[in-house]
């Protein structure tokens, strides 16, 4: 990553350090979540090395929590892989909207910058990159933001894992920790525009869970509810267009 030196070393450190400093806001947010992940992962039977490896390679909060829950429940590797795919497919959208900042990117920069893309770094990067002049500088700013966030996620996961190893397992509250986390995420992401999809997915998931053995109900209900929700949005959009057309003809 750092072998490429198209500009003076002063500029290099400026862009990178600026990004690193920007990443501090994310680090503050990541630290407690990563510690929680580390604790839960070891409580759910992973070693702290496995937890750290998962944070290093997967580096996607929600899907990591889901994965340790599914491992705990005995789901198959393929099932977890498929669930991870549907949870993380949204990175495709974020990546697509960041890429235009780097029209001259090389392969090594592409491979490095892509791994650091998360919901949080995406938001911070799009805000910061707008004001950075020159693609070289933009790459270094993004590298700083991504690397600071990534390092904190991995380090604090390991720390949580070590803490989790020494905590008493008898506390029954731990079996509710992940559900609590998902419920809190729900309150921050539920809006009027997606509430119907939420309710539909909830209903379908309960029905499918009662009818079909295994964990397939997760993917079935999510795919159906998101599919119906997207189809509904398309329909509403078309109707809106037609209404506009009708009005312009009248005018």
């Amino acid at each position: 990553m750092s072998e490429e030196s198209g500009e003076t070393s002063l500029e290099v450190s400026k862009g990178f350090i600026f990004g690193l400093r920007q990443s501090l806001t994310i680090v503050i947010g990541y630290a407690p979540v990563a510690v929680t992940f580390g604790i839960l992962a070891t409580q759910f039977g992973l070693t702290y090395w496995e937890a750290g490896l998962m944070s290093f390679f997967v580096y996607a909060g929600a899907s990591q929590f889901i994965a340790i829950e599914m491992i705990h429940q005995g789901a198959s590797v393929w099932m977890i892989g498929l669930t991870t795919l549907i949870v993380n497919i949204r990175h495709l959208l974020m990546s697509l909207s960041v890429v235009p900042y780097f029209p001259e990117r090389t392969l090594s920069w592409s491979l490095a910058l892509a791994h650091g893309l998360t919901d949080e770094t995406f938001v911070l990067n799009t805000r910061a990159l707008k004001d950075v002049v020159g693609e070289e500088n933009r790459r270094r700013v993004m590298l700083g933001i991504n690397l600071g966030s990534f390092a904190s996620w991995v380090v604090f996961t390991m720390l949580g894992g070590v803490i989790g190893k020494w905590l008493p397992i008898q506390f029954s509250g731990f079996q509710f920790a992940l559900l609590a986390l998902f419920i809190i995420l729900t309150t921050t992401s539920l809006t009027k525009k997606n509430a119907m999809t939420y309710l539909l997915a909830a209903l379908l998931a309960v029905v499918f869970k009662l009818l079909i053995p295994g964990k397939i109900y997760l993917i079935l209900s999510v795919a159906l509810a998101a599919g119906i929700g997207a189809w509904w949005r398309q329909r509403e959009r078309l109707r809106g267009l037609e209404r506009q057309k009708g009005q312009t003809i009248k005018l």
Partner: protein, 106 residues
């Protein structure tokens, strides 16, 4: 280190990194639009519903309402996090309430 966990991490890495890196490697034209974009945007919220609601309503495999610490702890955690939007506090709250209800209801 268990082989199953390593396989899981490997597969998770492939699909997650794939979604991150493909646009960097291939993308030259316009952004994703239409049905695909709406679908991808709605997946996270649908998944949260599918992960949480069945666990709250059918913890033992059938629907339970009254003697169900999961359901009541879930509702209380939802209300709590609406007023205290802090991830860490919310998790502590949820675990404590669940633990208390678990002792009370059974």
């Amino acid at each position: 280190m268990s082989i199953q966990v390593l396989e899981t991490i490997l597969l998770m890495t492939i699909v997650t990194y794939g979604a991150r890196v493909l646009p960097f490697l291939l993308f030259k034209g316009n952004n994703v639009q239409g049905f695909a974009r709406d679908f991808i945007e709605l997946v996270p919220i649908a998944l949260l519903a599918a992960l949480v609601i069945p666990e709250l309503v059918t913890p033992g495999g059938s629907i339970v309402i009254l003697h169900n610490p999961f359901l009541w702890a879930g509702l209380l955690t939802f209300l709590f996090s609406r007023y205290v939007p802090n991830l860490f506090l919310g998790i502590i709250f949820g675990m404590t309430v669940f633990w208390g209800l678990d002792k009370l209801l059974f």
